[in-house]
Symmetry: D2
Subunit: 264 residues, 4 copies
């Protein structure tokens, strides 16, 4: 029986591609996403066509019980979950506070923070029993700095990051590797960036910036995810960032003269 890699948030970007990478390396990939059955089927078929094992489920992760029942089912019918890829985003674009409804703020938390709490609460005891397991959490720039218009997203991601640290503090000594992965840039992902920009703009961006490796490529991201899951327990990484060579890191704004502060 193959170890299971359970992907929560398996679109045609990071989630699906990381699942495919794990499948290619001998895992059974379980892909979960909220909608687009056709897209999900395509991801599963692609993995199977390449000789890998995969299953797909449509699931609304914000519903109480949804994640929990999925874990039960996977453990009972497919195999022990070795690695969770928690890849649910909460980005709703830039919105002023006025334009951020209470419901949107709460939804951000449900996707960005609470869902991770829920799946950790469910799988950690199973992993502790087996003495091992990985929880790889896709995160964003907003986890380390809150920018204008990102009220919902940043609050959700900031909570996510701290939660990764509390989980690590409790579970690392029990053999569970938790990694918080800051994806600091735009991913070449049709299901997120593509939908945000629309097909034309997205196509253009790929042909210009993307052609010079200026968009994070999911296949390459997947290699680092897989490396993290294979790290020996004497050398675990808890936090890592990923960005294009041409992208300005989040901590480098371009303001000139900003550091002319003190004097001789």
């Amino acid at each position: 029986m193959k170890p299971v890699c359970l992907v929560i948030g398996a679109g045609a970007g990071i989630g699906g591609t990381v699942g495919a990478k794990f499948a290619a390396e001998g895992y059974h990939a379980v892909l979960c996403r909220r909608s687009d059955e056709e897209g999900l089927d395509r991801l599963v078929s692609n993995i199977r066509d390449a000789g890998g094992e995969a299953s797909g489920f449509l699931m609304d992760a914000t519903e109480d019980g949804s994640i929990e029942e999925r874990v039960d089912q996977v453990e009972a019918e497919i195999g022990p979950i070795d690695t969770v890829i928690y890849n649910l985003g909460a980005q709703i674009g830039n919105r002023t506070l006025d334009d951020t409804p209470h419901r949107a703020f709460e939804l951000g938390w449900r996707l960005g923070t609470y869902g991770l709490f829920r799946i950790a609460k469910k799988v950690c005891p199973l992993m502790v029993e087996r003495g091992k397991g990985n929880i790889l959490v896709t995160s964003a720039t907003a986890a380390v700095r809150g920018n204008a218009g990102q009220h919902s997203h940043a609050a959700a991601m900031g909570g996510r990051r701290m939660l990764c640290q509390t989980l690590n503090a409790e579970y690392a000594p029990q053999g569970i590797h938790i990694a918080h992965i800051i994806v600091d840039g735009s991913v070449d992902a049709p299901d997120t960036l593509g939908k945000l920009l629309g097909p034309e703009l997205f196509k253009k961006l790929r042909e210009t910036q993307g052609a010079k490796d200026g968009l994070l490529q999911p296949e390459k991201i997947a290699e680092t995810y897989f490396h993290l899951a294979q790290q020996h327990r004497s050398v675990w990484t808890h936090e890592i960032d990923l960005r294009c060579y041409t992208d300005i890191p989040w901590w480098n704004s371009s303001d000139i003269g900003r550091s002319v502060a003190s004097e001789v």
Copy 2:
């Protein structure tokens, strides 16, 4: 009409004392807390006895509409809110993940993150119209690092910190000063530390550690809160930490040999 200092979370520690400081400096202090009418009345009386203006309200800040209605009432009946002290804690003590119910995790978010979002959404437009205002947010070590047993608290405070940054990014240029204040240690506060430890232990701690200024004194904390509210808009502080001179800062653990990493 005096400017109003609205304190959300006004116990007999930071909240009540900061309120009293602002009242002594010419503000009308509006003190809100969930329970203990007697304690609340005492805080209000003390301020009035000292010649200051104060009002007190019992209020469950986690209830939808509670904060919002209070703001409306204060603006209509007392005066324009110049400064908000957001002082709701979400500390529930150290608990394993297993011992952290879903409800507790959600409550942490409601108190720690969502309440701040709600009050900001309500008062920021008012402050923008007046071209000025302060939102001073009490925060904790858990906002910058998640420790074992702090799943609910750290996630809530991490979200709070990022939210302070997104609010600052949108509202600082419009004249609203938002400050995130990391209280990195134990406060000499009967309503929180006192209740956590019980009367005997708390008394003992005060007589030993407290006698050497080893507990943060609310009156002294209040001076820095007031200073922040008075900073000129050309020199605003967004983040500041406060701790006892004898406390080890959160970033300094005591492990020896930890940094023997590289070699000659």
Copy 3:
């Protein structure tokens, strides 16, 4: 005998103005700077004309023994040093690596890091004996993030920040308050920004940005420095940032789409 406030790096910006503030509050201000005797005399005279006490010294702080001898002299002839304002900058403008000579990099370290080590080594034993003292360190954005062209400055400031933490770890429990103050923006300072921009550009900047409080005003900065020096030892601040209400904080770059990372 008045307590002494010793300013290392006393130009007509933060350094001189903080010295004047302390003098106005009852300290003897000792102003040290490398050059411009006339400018120094003016600062001293202004303080004296206002009824305060001040002394001025020209001194090359990068010379071995210079700081050390000054401390000896001040302690012997003027009074006990209560507060050190370490205000030496190391900003040399934006330069590529190729355009940053070895000597410039070393000078940055001598001004930015080594000088602080030297003065701490000299005054801390004196302050420990007296059971109290303050070392307030002006720092810059470059202490928390290294930007393009800032090789020398950022390395120096990054070292400075960590040194402040090691000094705090050793000396806070012994009564010495060390504060690292991040000045995150352009200061309305003729001796630094003024010289960097030239008189015409500087004048223009003051009339536009400055007129809307868009440059940090040294007089207002000085109020926070003084507040820090007065904080009760139960509530010391170790790190604080200061910036204009209109300035984008260092952690907020303006890139759009940067946080579109994960997917549903």
Copy 4:
């Protein structure tokens, strides 16, 4: 001609082992260290015996010109430097400020910060010309927090970290991948930890803590270094941490009650 992996600081821990890993993967490993010719020869022989290519040099990296001449020689006689492993440590154990001579503080800077500046200044133009290259910098906990007794080390590492960011800002867009690797714990390294503890204590530590994977194993560290050097330029990591599953991360001190700050 094989690409060269140049290791500055090649002891029998991280440096030598990373060199061996790169040699095993097809690089020519050039190992540089200050002393112990026998130890150096052993590292080189081991690589050659395993079928790899390696060269070894004794070199005092703190001497002006030493690093620079080595780069010239390697480029002329061995091959183009593809990857630099900058692995010079500056740890001198825990020392009070009083017990940290000026010379020791300066040496820390020469090893920890200035040496990296020097090698970057020398190799970056070569790498830019070739459109690619890696500079992997071993760093320590002291780069992100300054602890008691670490004055020299923390100042040096704090400078190192900021320098990595300025180098990245300038050179990443030109194809040079710079990574700052925080080794947050004790490495199973005879040349550093072994010498610090002495042979008996080190043997004991290995048999107890080490036997449970409680010391970072250089062979496992080397895998992550190699992974970083192979990351596609669309997904570069700039900062990463490594620690044992049983080690408490630097940001998690064990103080209880520390976060009981605010109140309801």
